[in-house]
């Protein structure tokens, strides 16, 4: 997806389209980092990996705490955007 968008930038004829695409990429990156569903999906995947003994409890806890922080940060960002 990102590859495709970058390609579009390279061939985009006008600055306006460029701007739209930049905004789109920013949104995508924002969503990638702070989207609630994305993070929750990541947490479920981590739980699966722990259950299947593919990662250790310590690795799980570390990753979970990072994701939890991002979840909180995301909620804050959405709140301030709505205001």
């Amino acid at each position: 997806m990102l590859g495709y968008l970058l390609y579009q930038i390279l061939v985009a004829p006008t600055a306006k389209i460029c701007k739209n695409i930049v905004e789109k990429i920013t949104d995508m990156a924002e969503n990638e980092l702070y989207g609630e569903d994305k993070i929750k999906t990541e947490i479920v995947k981590l739980q699966m990996m722990l259950e299947m003994d593919e990662i250790t409890e310590k690795q799980y806890d570390e990753a979970e705490s990072i994701l939890m922080k991002r979840l909180e940060e995301g909620a804050k960002r959405r709140q301030s955007n709505e205001m």
């Binding site: 590859g3 999906t41 990541e42 479920v44 995947k45 739980q47 699966m48 990996m49 259950e51 299947m52 003994d53 593919e54 799980y60 806890d61 979970e64 939890m68």
Partner: protein, 227 residues
């Protein structure tokens, strides 16, 4: 044993022949962290040792005991029906993932067109093969999906007949073939165990199974109670 690490004790609030297992808690929003959900799960597991349980959704908080009693009274017949449904049954979880090294090797062996494409790309300079490599990635992903379906079907066919109900959950993990819960009558548990072991032996070279038998039946009852 309550959530939040305050060491709150569990106790019961009874109505007629049913009871709610509760612990004291401030009225706050609990984080859905593993530490918290495990406390919830452990408490239910303890009760499960002796009674049929209906798990209530994580972090359901009521203002006072009177309210809990009223809920038990109001929903009595619904709870009794559910308790009857769950009586003498157990939730058994089966998860399976592909062994990562083996499955990708198997795919290359089984899917000739991917193998040919890959061999061709290997002879070209890498800056000229961006789209070709992306295509290989897509094809491998599609093949992985197809392989998952084949094994999933076999696992379900083997186990579903022994279960009263089956619930298949999403795993969000590309290597996971199946993430399912089976509600099994206790007198069929041994037979079910045996079938799971047989599957494990049959696919020992390429699939890793995880079989879980002591968790609360969250997949078949998860009461959402408005307090």
């Amino acid at each position: 044993m309550g959530i939040g690490g305050r060491g709150d004790e569990l106790y019961t609030i009874c109505f007629d022949d049913i009871a709610a297992v509760v612990s004291n808690s401030p009225i706050i929003r609990y984080k859905v962290s593993r530490e918290n959900t495990l406390a919830h799960e452990k408490a239910i597991e303890e009760v499960m040792k002796e009674h049929t349980v209906l798990p209530v959704r994580f972090a359901t908080i009521s203002e006072d005991e009177e309210k809990v009693k009223k809920i038990l009274e109001k929903e009595y017949s619904k709870f009794k029906d559910l308790l009857n449904k769950m009586k003498d049954k157990k939730e058994l979880g089966v998860k399976a993932i592909f062994n990562e090294d083996v499955i990708y090797k198997d795919i290359l062996e089984k899917y000739k067109e991917i193998r040919i494409l890959k061999e061709k790309v290997a002879t070209l300079p890498s800056d000229k093969t961006y789209f070709k490599r992306a295509e290989i990635g897509e094809r491998v992903e599609a093949a992985l999906q197809r392989e998952k379906e084949i094994y999933k079907k076999d696992i379900l066919n083997t186990l579903s007949a022994l279960a009263a109900e089956v619930k298949i959950n999403n795993s969000y993990w590309e290597l996971m073939i199946i993430n399912a819960a089976f509600l099994v009558q206790k007198d069929k548990e041994t037979e079910f165990d045996q079938k799971v072991n047989e599957l494990g032996a049959k696919y020992s070279s390429n699939i890793k199974f995880k079989y879980i038998g002591k968790v609360p039946p969250f997949n078949f009852v998860n009461l959402v109670i408005k307090t």
